[in-house]
């Protein structure tokens, strides 16, 4: 009987450890098993991506609809090409949507904000968003400001 209670409590410990690992995986690290394959890829070229990194969020009106999967330099255009994965259930982005690199808060991380356009056709896998706006680089902004001051 004593052995039985011991075995039961050890079983509970094992179970608790396993459940805790699942909680850590799903709730804390945000590991998402369901949409590993789901989603379609959309590309966009930017003059300057600022501090954008892979795994940054792609949002529409501030709601996350996907994430940045890869960033590379396009050698012909000499621009940064960002590959992002949009969730499958977000199938209402028109082909003339625009992509902007935004910053969350004053010092926060950079993310891509998408604004839908007016076209009837929707973006599909492999499409490119042509209307883009680069990240706000503080040095450029200061440079413009100084230049304007001097020219006045």
């Amino acid at each position: 009987m004593r052995m039985r209670t011991m075995e039961i409590s050890v079983g509970f410990l094992m179970l608790a450890g396993f459940l805790a690992l699942v909680v850590l995986a799903l709730n804390v690290s945000g590991l998402n098993l369901s949409d590993q394959g789901g989603g379609y890829k959309v590309y966009a070229r930017f003059d300057n991506i600022g501090g954008l990194t892979p795994r940054a969020k792609v949002a529409m009106s501030g709601v996350q609809i996907g994430e940045v999967t890869a960033i590379r330099l396009d050698p012909q255009m000499l621009m940064a090409e960002v590959e992002m994965k949009i969730r499958d259930d977000v199938d209402f982005l028109s082909t003339d949507s625009s992509a902007q690199i935004l910053t969350s808060g004053l010092l926060g991380e950079q993310y891509i904000g998408i604004t839908s356009g007016a076209e009837d056709e929707m973006l599909a896998d492999g499409d490119r968003i042509s209307d883009t706006q680069s990240a706000l680089v503080l040095e450029d902004l200061i440079g413009k400001f100084l230049f304007n001051e001097v020219s006045d």
Partner: protein, 260 residues
Amino acid sequence: MLDWIQSLGHRGLSRLAAFGRAGQLLMQSLIARPEPITMFPLLIKQLYFVGVLSLIIIVVSGGFIGMVLGLQGYTILVDYGSEQAVGQMVALSLVRELAPVVTALLFAGRAGSALTAEIGLMKATEQLASFEMIGVDPMRRIIAPRLWAGFISMPILTIIFSVVGVWGGALVAVEWLGIFDGSFWANMQQAVDFRADVLNGVIKAVVFGFVVTWIAVFEGYDCIPTSEGISQATTRTVVFSSLAVLGLDFLLTALMFGEL
């Protein structure tokens, strides 16, 4: 002068011999031919003593450490207007550092010292010798189940510590201080990576569990079989394993997270 050098040499040699005996103990008890039928009930019993009975101290300290992290993080981050980042601060510091280290330190104090004292007393009362006399290998019967129990229960306790700590932090930050819970969890999930953070924390826990249990069992097995010797061995277990955990933590952090 020469005497001093001689005593230094003597100490170095005996320390080296102790390392050798510790390695031998590990080899003999782990490489031994497994006997699942006799081993399993012994292992369950040790898992109960080492794992289940440590659960309460782990849960309570994990909860309080998470709550303190939430409170401290909030008071600092609120000055910069980025109090939503409390979630990622609590989760990252727990999963990467605090959970493995604090669990290992508590484990050394709670379970390691008990293992040392138990095995030391078995040696002092010549139970180990009588096991050998009746043809039972004490390595396999006494040492191996305790080692395995330590290796298995340490990672489990660490994971539970992390989860309870995150909940404690969420309790303080979301429920009491009123951070919006959506941004609390979303920030955390974006910052914490399963492979890079959670699994590396578990790897740390495995290493710490291995080191702490090994030191505890060896000190017990190697102690001077008197009541004074047992007390010294118990002290050495706690001191050595705490130092080993803190030193190894730096090493593992440098390997895993730092570009050293």
